[in-house]
């Protein structure tokens, strides 16, 4: 099983000091966070993609390419890549290039994006969100698998005799997850291709995740990729830890209360009850995370959100130390011991897929 972190890339004022990092600081801090993730033994770093303030990650492959050059083992991923408003040809080219530079340590997660104006800014219509996700991904899938592509669709100009370069590393396309909170069409899409399904799982009650993952697993089997239990599932999670639970709650509360996503609404306690947010001791995070398995089954990837809401870099790095030292080693062991034989421990990623092709 793989563990990692995912970032939204928000530039948010630290409510305890009133200080707002510059975009430059935020970008550099994001790199420091990714390097730390590798240092503490996490497997994955994923960045969001946004095209409006207060977010900085508008150019994910630039960021991930830089991190690739400074890491050895970290898998570079996205959370999410906007399949609706990006040109699928450019995604094919950018991520294939990244794959070569990172020696295969790349996968990506497709998402639609929920910022209304981004669609018209990129010449699209938000009401066509799902059809755009379906059509653009169908093209991307083809571009990575067929050397010469003829293509006509509804949204993008036609391609005749087009070859996307560079070709995927060793002929193995990057593994793709499809992320969605509650659109069954996207779970269906992931199942159809035998791709992974990633449930964001944060900010929302668990029953959305439960329902979507169940649907994805059933349909994955329906399309003949394996049993429902073998489908490739990833989950988000959001944690803040201190040695003592009370200290965690005390230290995180001002960030919670002022967070752009849920601030000035429910209390930390209510939100922790209703969503997977876990603020407490490392042991509490371990127990809560293991409980995810009760409603999604054995899954392959767990990403945590640790760097949002204005938390300073120092605090984020402390969180990564705790994750790497106290939480993830236990989770690896526990999840592995619970996982039945025949259920894959990870998504089919580059080195393993290449090895299976060579056999």
């Amino acid at each position: 099983m793989q563990f990692g972190i995912f970032t939204v890339g928000d530039v948010t004022t630290d409510p305890t000091t009133g200080r707002t990092p510059t975009e430059h600081e935020r970008i550099k801090n994001t790199v420091a966070i990714a390097l730390k993730a590798e240092e503490v033994g996490l497997d994955v770093f994923a960045t969001g993609e946004h095209h409006n303030p207060p977010f900085v990650p508008s150019s994910p492959t630039t960021l991930l390419g830089h991190i690739a050059a400074r890491t050895e083992n970290l898998i570079l991923s996205t959370s999410t890549t906007l399949i609706t408003t990006n040109d699928p040809v450019k995604i094919a080219e950018d991520y294939a290039t990244l794959q070569h530079l990172a020696d295969g340590r790349v996968d990506l997660m497709m998402g639609r994006g929920n910022t209304g104006p981004v669609y018209p800014w990129f010449g699209q219509d938000i009401r066509q969100g799902i059809p755009l996700a379906i059509e653009h991904y169908a093209l991307l899938h083809k571009l990575w698998r067929e050397d010469v592509v003829d293509w006509e669709g509804k949204f993008r100009s036609a391609l005749q005799g087009f070859t996307s370069t560079p070709r995927p590393l060793d002929g193995v396309p990057p593994f793709v997850w499809h992320g969605s909170i509650r659109s069954p069409e996207i779970a269906e899409q992931a199942a159809y291709y035998g791709d992974g399904f990633f449930a964001n799982h944060i900010f929302w009650p668990k029953h959305h995740t439960e329902k979507m993952v169940r649907l994805y697993r059933q349909r994955y089997a329906h399309y003949g990729h394996g049993t429902p239990e073998q489908a490739i599932v990833g989950l988000g999670g959001q944690v803040f830890m201190r040695k003592n639970s009370q200290d965690a709650v005390r230290d995180f509360r001002p960030y919670f209360d002022n967070a752009p996503v849920y601030g000035h609404g429910p209390t930390l306690e209510e939100f922790s009850r209703e969503t997977p947010l876990t603020v407490g001791s490392p042991q509490e995070v371990i127990e809560r995370t293991l409980s995810f398995r009760d409603y999604v089954g054995d899954y392959q990837r767990q990403l945590f959100l640790v760097d949002h809401a204005g938390l300073p870099l120092k605090t984020v790095l402390e969180q990564l130390d705790i994750l790497g030292e106290e939480v993830v080693p236990v989770l690896r062991k526990e999840f592995a011991s619970l996982r039945p034989a025949g259920v894959p421990a990870t998504a089919p990623l580059h080195p393993a897929v290449l090895a299976s092709k060579e056999v």
Binding site: I134, E135, E188, F203, G265, P266, E270
Partner: protein
């Protein structure tokens, strides 16, 4: 004989509230009419005051609390909805609108709805036709032809040569609404349907 579910939504804020009183009277009138036709009727009242904080939180977080979800399910699962609001600043109250803002725009399609409003003077009575009817028209609900406005003075007076009194307006509205509910086939609880991926692709005419 099937049981029909009638749900009244009351946005009254005081207790006791004349908005709730009007909702109860409308519910009673509809129930009486259906009982005459030997329908079994199950009635529930959703008091928005109790959900005011949860409704505000839903706007902030994007998801409803368990109690609010239950209220939403109650309303969207009803065979007929009675919606009553006090008039605030020339329209329905913010709380009333906020609740309906959280309901899926398709969830009340074709559902009979009886609208009512209360206010200090009869001068606001067109709120029924200028605010409430358009709201439910947007939701594609079937709004009963008679809607009932109760001004404070209506609770202490009968009709006159030109206007029916409150009780007869309530009875007329309740009966019209009840007949619409009875005429409509019972609603099936619908499961999420999957659109098979081949059809999603075919809709785009992709191979």
């Amino acid at each position: 004989m099937q049981t029909l579910k009638l749900v009244a939504v009351s946005a009254g804020l005081s207790s006791p509230s004349s908005t709730r009183l009007l909702a109860d009277r409308l519910l009673q009138a509809a129930r009486y009419r259906l009982a005459e036709q030997e329908y079994a009727v199950d009635v529930q009242v959703v008091e928005l005051r109790d959900l005011a904080v949860d409704i505000a939180k839903n706007f902030v977080t994007g998801f409803p609390s368990a109690a609010l979800q239950e209220a939403i399910d109650t309303v969207t699962g009803a065979d007929g909805v009675i919606a009553v609001t006090p008039v605030f600043t020339a329209s329905y109250s913010g709380l009333f609108k906020s609740f309906f803002d959280l309901i899926d725009p398709a969830a009340l399609t074709g559902v009979p709805v009886l609208v009512g409003a209360t206010g200090g003077t009869a001068r606001h009575s067109l709120v029924l036709d200028h605010a409430l009817r358009p709201l439910f028209a947007y939701l594609r609900a079937l709004v009963a032809p008679t809607a009932v406005y109760a001004a404070s003075e209506d609770w202490g007076s009968g009709g006159d040569a030109y206007t029916d009194g409150l009780p007869s307006r309530i009875n007329r509205a309740g009966s019209e609404f009840a007949d619409m509910v009875a005429a409509r086939p019972s609603r099936n609880a619908d499961e999420d349907e999957i659109v098979p991926f081949e059809r999603q692709l075919a809709d785009l005419r992709l191979d």
